[in-house]
């Protein structure tokens, strides 16, 4: 209840900066438009392959926004005032992440709708893809909370670039297997490529839960870990 009120305030703060919000939601869809004609050159660039990658690309932007809003808030006198209200670190965590999870759903919805118009194939269970994508949304927004709770405004841009590169190299708009080498070795230890592989496998080949169990485990484990770390990061902010 109390957390909801703070979440509403944070949501209003986001909505009242419509330009950033528009870019965050609109830009990934534009990427999809730009990239999908390339399927005439390379068969990888189908809406089906691109959609999950573009969604993750959008989530990176959300991670950046959530990190920035929290970090900027922490620099204001309002933040300690909020901390004197009877809210737990869990309340703060959900209040700062919920608005971005809502935006993530809208953003991903727009991208998939666009992909559907462009000829998305969908063989497997939509629920599985939703599960993967929601988990990734929580992971990215949670990462944003960790960054925002720990870093100042300036270093966040650096961290953002790192996560952006790791996400792109996981194969947002190409097949990581064609790159191989140390990049693939690193990416295999991170959740991004597992999310992409699983989502593409479900959509293209109709893979079921059993087929993607290993990839899904990577994704869910990372998500849980990030949420735990984000909670701890907030708990440390409650009292100096």
């Amino acid at each position: 209840m109390r957390a909801r009120q703070l979440a509403i305030r944070n949501f209003k703060t986001i909505l009242r900066d419509p330009l950033s919000l528009g870019l965050t939601i609109g830009l990934p869809s534009v990427m999809l438009f730009i990239l999908q004609p390339l399927q005439d050159v390379d068969e990888f660039f189908t809406p089906t392959n691109l959609a999950p990658g573009i969604v993750l690309f959008g989530f990176v932007m959300l991670m950046f926004s959530s990190a920035m809003i929290l970090s900027r808030d922490r620099e204001t006198a309002l933040f300690p005032r909020l901390l004197t209200a009877p809210l737990t670190s869990g309340d703060f965590l959900s209040a700062y992440s919920a608005p971005y999870l809502v935006i993530a759903v809208v953003q991903a919805g727009v991208i998939f709708a666009m992909a559907a118009v462009l000829g998305l194939e969908f063989e497997g269970s939509a629920m599985l893809v939703v599960l993967i994508m929601v988990s990734m949304a929580v992971l990215y927004v949670g990462l944003g909370i960790v960054l925002g709770a720990v870093l100042g405004v300036a270093p966040i841009s650096g961290a953002y670039s790192a996560v952006l590169l790791l996400t792109i190299f996981a194969g947002t708009w190409f097949d990581l297997n064609q790159i191989g080498g140390p990049i693939q070795a690193v990416e295999d230890l991170l959740p991004f490529v597992h999310a992409l592989d699983a989502a593409r496998d479900v959509m293209t080949n109709g893979a079921g839960l059993g087929d993607i169990a290993s990839d899904l485990t990577w994704v869910l484990a990372y998500t849980v870990a990030v949420v735990v770390v984000a909670g701890a990061a907030f708990r440390r902010r409650l009292v100096e």
């Binding site: 703070l6 009877p86 009292v239 100096e240």
Partner: protein, 316 residues
């Protein structure tokens, strides 16, 4: 929900036991012992950097003490933070508002975070906005407000939850005289029902509002008492100040014949004692060519007390 009179806690509203805090090597709050009764308005005075804000931040659970502890309505500020936060509200020294929201939304936010219901929030917000003359622009985003308007809203955000214990860190700083007076009246109304810890550098504010005053300097409590007690402590015995022109040493010694406890001050004399009569003084001085410009009972202000106790020099 937090509202007055619901708590049946019988002990002191705020109690500090050797409360200390250091940053790095320097001790900023140094073993404060203090007990503030329910409904009391306690004013914490002290020079810049004395540790007032640091003390308040510890009592609001924003800062962990490095020594000692404190309780608020019987709840420990280290081990029972959530319970403390349920009964307090703070108006921080720095203006603390959500810039992207309007005044209504700011007040509703703080009320909601403290569990106040919607209808009650609307009623209280309306009253506060009227009192602080913000009603007309209450629907405007507050980032467009003037500094003083933001300040007023920031204070109102502490008042809207009607806490049992209210911390006001220099609430009237930056307010125009009308707003300041309005604020005093409001605080006056809360007295007796709400326990208030107030810091200020306007000593007449502490003088007229506070039940008791604690003066801190370099993190230590150096004086404690009601405004009258503190003034008595510093002002000493009753005295009359006589301002006069052409006051000669000769005239002063003549006057000393009548009043032995006399001492020269800048532009006149000060006579100690409670039986000083103006016509006796004039009878003595006029024949010696001295004109008495004014004579009045010496009035000790809290400023005198403050300067006497904390020294005249600026520190840091």
């Amino acid at each position: 929900m937090v509202s007055r009179g619901e708590s049946h806690f019988g002990g002191p509203a705020v109690e500090l036991n050797g409360l200390s805090r250091s940053f790095g090597g320097s001790t900023v709050v140094d073993g404060l012992d203090l007990s503030i009764g329910p409904g009391e308005l306690f004013s914490l005075l002290g020079p810049n950097g004395a540790g007032k804000t640091t003390t308040i931040r510890m009592l609001c659970c924003l800062l962990r003490p490095t020594g000692g502890t404190a309780t608020v309505m019987g709840r420990d500020i280290i081990t029972d933070r959530l319970a403390v936060k349920r009964v307090i509200a703070v108006s921080p020294q720095e203006t603390a508002i959500a810039e992207q929201l309007n005044a209504w939304e700011n007040l509703s936010l703080m009320a909601a975070l403290h569990g106040v219901g919607k209808a009650e929030t609307r009623r209280r917000s309306g009253e506060l906005l009227d009192m602080l003359a913000l009603a007309e622009r209450a629907s405007e985003r507050v980032k467009k407000y003037s500094g003083g308007m933001k300040r007023r809203l920031s204070i109102a955000m502490a008042l809207v939850s009607e806490p049992e214990v209210l911390f006001l860190d220099e609430p009237t700083i930056g307010l125009d005289p009308q707003s300041r007076r309005g604020m005093w009246e409001h605080i006056e109304q809360l007295k007796g029902r709400t326990t208030i810890v107030l810091t200020t550098h306007y000593l007449e504010e502490a003088d007229s509002l506070a039940d008791r005053i604690g003066i801190v300097d370099q993190g230590r409590l150096i004086a404690l008492g009601s405004p009258a007690e503190l003034k008595r402590q510093v002002g000493g015995a009753q005295a009359t100040v006589v301002e006069a022109d052409n006051l000669t040493d000769d005239a002063i010694s003549a006057l000393r014949g009548v009043y032995p406890n006399i001492r020269a001050i800048d532009g006149g004399v000060e006579i100690e004692g409670d039986d000083v009569r103006l016509h006796d003084i004039e009878d003595c001085l006029r024949p010696r060519g001295v004109t008495v410009r004014a004579a009045y009972e010496k009035h000790v202000t809290l400023d005198d007390v403050f300067i006497e106790l904390t020294g005249k020099e600026l520190r840091e």
